[in-house]
């Protein structure tokens, strides 16, 4: 069978025969399959599900070293068989198409070898994805989404600025008009002091700090002199420090953590003893832990409505059932929780306002024995389901593919320049590239000392070299002189082509950024790059270009092949 296959390849597909392509391709695919199995077996303990970098096991665990080692061994053996028959250098009739196919074949081969990390990741994902059924997953995330609010973790989510829906218990106490009036009043005073300030009244109205101020008056008993563990941004605007003023808040976005706009009462005295009103309530919680990919109606709003309805009914039995279900999930995934003094339900605030007085933190937060050791490890459970979600719904097929393509081109060019030129030229090209980079640095220093350094110097030096490569190479090929130097410059030209497009785009972006930048404005050049439409467009083009660049390079290489043919037939010195 092998003999017959060999005969067919040698007479009908000489390139495949010469490249030993079937065997090396099988090896490349084989090693990817092994990586997949390895990844599959890598996930062997339940506890791994709690790791945030579970899918990065290939690089984290040092596994990649083995794969690099094995791949290098395979490639060296393959090169031994492949390199000896070179019809191009032997001056057998060799078409441009043949050489182009050879380049493509090498590119594809290296790409498959470089794809190993993704195969490994698929292995892990495949096993994790099948760890629980989709049906079970959707049931579990429903419990998590519903119970998330009752875990009382010390994070955002319980103050008024977090919610989006009306809660009659609070909103009946403070109206929109009252809130707006206070806002206008505060803003006029503020504007006097800071004329550049812009007006942002947040919708819905209860997310404005003025609402909170007005609400505080209804709950004097909630006044305290210690900040609450649930509030992470309770420093009110300091009039002497306008940088604290957060002028931008995205209006009407649902469940965003950035809704922290705050305009202080004008009368606030910063030197006075700080007072805090603990108005954090279960009602305000609006954070969706997991999206239901199967049922779009079970969104953030749905769970918010469900929560508000549950709290309004004061159905503590239903809450207790949720907590039991949640602890079952924790048990299932061997994640810790502990209640020393009371049951979890006793921590849950009471009707009608559900103001929060206690919270369950992470276990690691309780190092001091004097503090109660009751805890719920919500983060770990979320990480488990986060990993399930990634495994089930986030494909990694195209992950990092742009880099794999670039590296595959790099390796293919590395090999093809050896095949298309001579060993001497190839070696000088490699050593010379190092010398050239030192020369470039020295030249850069020289230019900097004479003309003052600017950001364009590295670009200019690279472009200068690139033009020189083209000039020297063209001269040699035209006059049929200096074969060695011509070959070296041809190789350098071909290698530079890999990244010259990216460099030129970067150069142009930098020039435009400098042209658009106004040093008198308070915006930094980094902000300008983020905010300016043209610069953002250029950044988008650059992002797309990273994918397009390998394709453009491959197309351009088709035309470069004739340069190698001309070079090969050149007389030596």
């Amino acid at each position: 069978m092998f003999k017959k296959l060999n005969q067919t390849l040698i007479t009908k597909y000489p390139l495949i025969w010469n490249l030993k392509y079937i065997w090396i391709l099988l090896a490349a695919i084989g090693i990817n399959i092994i990586a997949f199995i390895n990844g599959f077996l890598f996930f062997s303990k339940k506890s791994q599900l709690q790791e945030s970098r579970l899918f990065d096991g290939f690089t984290e665990g040092g596994t990649f070293v083995n794969y690099i080692f094995v791949s290098i061994i395979i490639l060296i053996i393959w090169l031994y068989f492949y390199i000896k028959n070179n019809r191009f250098k032997s001056f057998y009739p060799t078409s441009r198409n043949y050489l182009f196919k050879e380049f493509l074949a090498l590119f594809f081969l290296f790409f498959i070898f470089l794809y190993i990390p993704n195969s490994f990741k698929f292995g892990i994902k495949y096993r994790v994805a099948n760890y629980i059924s989709n049906e079970q997953y959707f049931k579990d995330i429903d419990i998590i989404n519903r119970t998330q609010v009752f875990t009382l973790q010390p994070s955002f989510g319980y103050n008024n600025s977090s919610r989006y829906l009306t809660v009659p218990a609070f909103d009946s106490l403070v109206s929109e008009k009252e809130t707006k009036d206070l806002f206008e009043q505060n803003f006029i005073a503020y504007k006097k002091q800071y004329p550049k300030a812009e007006k942002h009244f947040i919708e819905p109205y209860f997310r404005n700090p003025e609402f909170e101020i007005l609400l505080e008056k209804h709950f004097p008993q909630r006044k305290n002199y210690q900040p609450s563990g649930f509030i992470t941004n309770d420093v009110r605007l300091n009039k002497k420090n306008p940088d604290d003023y957060n002028s931008y808040v995205a209006p009407n976005t649902y469940a965003t953590d950035s809704a922290m706009a705050y305009i202080p009462p004008v009368e606030e005295d910063i030197d006075a003893v700080k007072e805090y009103y603990h108005l954090e309530s279960l009602y305000n919680y609006s954070r969706l832990a997991f999206e239901n990919k199967n049922d779009k109606s079970k969104n953030n709003e749905y769970y918010d409505k469900e929560l508000i309805a549950l709290l309004q009914k004061n159905d503590r039995k239903a809450i207790a059932v949720l907590l039991v279900d949640y602890t079952k999930l924790l048990d299932k995934h061997e994640i810790g929780y502990q209640f020393k003094k009371s049951t979890w339900l006793n921590y849950i605030p009471q009707y009608p306002y559900y103001f929060i007085d206690y919270h369950l933190g992470k276990y690691t937060n309780y190092q001091n024995d004097s503090i109660e050791k009751d805890y719920i490890n919500q983060t770990s459970l979320n990480e488990v389901y986060n990993n399930f979600e990634k495994a089930k719904f986030q494909s990694s097929w195209l992950e990092n593919i742009e880099y794999y393509m670039m590296f595959a081109i790099g390796f293919a060019v590395f090999l093809v320049t050896f095949r298309f030129t001579s060993f001497k030229v190839w070696l000088i090209s490699i050593v010379g590239a190092g010398v050239l980079s030192i020369l470039g640095s020295v030249l850069g220093l020289g230019i900097s000392s004479i003309f003052n350094y600017n950001n364009y110097t590295p670009y200019i030096i690279l472009i200068l070299f690139y033009v020189l490569f083209i000039v020297i190479m063209s001269f040699g090929l035209r006059t049929k002189q200096y074969k060695l130097i011509t070959g070296v410059n041809l190789n350098w030209f071909v290698v530079t082509n890999i990244f010259i497009g990216i460099v030129l785009l970067g150069f142009y972006t930098d020039i435009r950024a400098d042209m658009l930048y106004d040093p008198t404005s308070k915006i930094s050049i980094y902000q300008l790059r983020e905010e300016n439409a043209e610069l953002r467009l250029l950044k988008q083009i650059a992002d797309i270009f990273i994918y397009v660049n390998p394709i453009l390079y491959i197309i351009s290489f088709y035309f470069i092949i004739n340069l190698y043919k001309n070079w090969q037939a050149m007389p030596e010195e």
Binding site: N6, T11, K12, F91, Y92, T94, Q481, A569
Partner: protein, 383 residues
């Protein structure tokens, strides 16, 4: 009678005179000229039989004659006339970093010609070959390639000029694989590919080794294999740099003989330029010998010396020099030199080889070797 039939007759005579080895090789030449697949298969079958140890010479002869009878029935291939392939005009090469200079050389090579380049090491043989194949650019002069319209120093031209350097490339794989790969590169696929590969292996005496890997061959057979691979490329001109180096005397003779016969193909004749230091062997097969000395064509430059028309004899005897001088004293001996184990005797042009034989016959000289080198470039290799 046309050329094909004449050659058929010659081959038949070789077999009838029991010169099976030459007959076998020449029979393959005829089949290669014919280019028919069924005859490729027949000679392959015959080769199996020929190299079978149990096959008797009588049977080999009988089967060969049967094959020849079959060949007589086919329509002969068209005879391709000789043509000038390459002409060099005052080609000169000066190296900028070396003192060596190849002085102007003008010569033509036709198809079916074997040109021998002889001379000591470092006298410009390889330079001349590399100039012709386009690996070097002449400082002055012109090289015209009449067999192609391809541009000078183009890849296309290089595919038609086959240059085999002294150090041949290392190959991987079996002999057959390499030959088949070569043929595929030249557009010969399918059945013809494998058949022709086998036929050429048989032609170059590599049949018993056909299943071996390239690395398993001895250096002599590697050169034969290189020649086989080269011939499959159907070159217009074959340039061989020292192909006889590292070969034993028998291998040298066979290779040279093969080159001569193969270059005279009816259908695909080609020209051969080969460099060597084996003067006698090269002279035997060459249509022209170019002798280079210190970058100059000595045969052209020393015409006056050639016109002196000495009779020059190279002779090796058991006796000492005095006895040799005594034996030749009746002849008009001008000079006697001892040169690397043998004597070189210069006589007046009126002294013929027959006269020398008569005098030697009369003497008590015990002759081991004698050769007339009056017109051989061997005469230039005398101290």
């Amino acid at each position: 009678m046309n050329e094909f039939k004449e050659r058929l007759k010659d081959v038949e005579n070789h077999f009838l005179q029991n010169d099976l080895d030459l007959g076998y090789r020449r029979l393959i030449d005829l089949i290669l000229d014919l280019g028919e697949l069924n005859f490729y298969q027949k000679i392959i079958d015959y080769s199996d039989f020929y190299y079978n140890e149990s096959s008797s010479d009588e049977l080999k002869k009988e089967k060969a004659l049967e094959l020849l009878t079959d060949l007589k029935t086919v329509s002969p291939p068209e005879y391709k006339q000789e043509e000038i392939l390459i002409s060099t005009t005052q080609v000169e090469k000066v190296y900028s970093k070396r003192k060596f200079k190849l002085h102007p050389i003008t010569f033509d090579i036709k198809s079916r010609e074997v040109v021998g380049l002889v001379g000591e090491n470092g006298n410009g043989k390889t330079t001349l070959l590399r100039l012709i194949c386009g690996e070097l650019k002449p400082t002055n002069g012109e090289i015209n390639y009449h067999f192609t319209t391809a541009k000078p120093y183009s890849y296309e031209l290089r595919t038609k000029l086959v240059y085999v350097p002294q150090r041949i490339d290392v190959l991987y794989g079996s002999l057959l694989d390499n030959l088949q790969f070569t043929l595929t590169a030249y557009g010969i696929n399918d059945k013809e590919n494998i058949l022709l590969s086998k036929v050429i292996l048989a032609r170059l005496g590599l049949w018993p080794y056909k299943d071996l890997q390239w690395k398993q061959l001895s250096s002599g057979y590697k050169m034969r294999f290189e020649l086989a691979k080269t011939l499959l490329r159907r070159p217009e001109v074959l340039l061989l740099d020292e192909p006889l180096a590292n070969l034993d005397i028998l291998a040298q003779q066979i290779i040279l003989e093969d080159l001569k016969y193969l270059s005279q193909s009816i259908r695909n004749p080609f020209g051969v330029i080969l460099s060597s230091q084996q003067l006698y062997e090269v002279e035997k097969v060459s249509t022209e010998v170019l002798f280079l000395e210190q970058g100059k064509l000595k045969l052209q430059e020393d015409k006056e010396e050639l016109n002196q028309n000495f009779t020059i004899i190279e002779i090796d005897v058991i006796n000492d020099k005095e006895e040799l001088l005594t034996a030749l004293s009746n002849l008009n001996l001008i000079q006697l030199k001892f040169n690397g184990g043998s004597f070189i005797a210069y006589f007046d042009e009126s002294v013929s080889l027959n006269k020398i034989f008569i005098e030697i016959g009369k003497s008590s000289l015990q002759v081991k070797y004698i050769r007339d080198i009056s017109k051989s470039s061997r005469r230039f290799f005398v101290n």
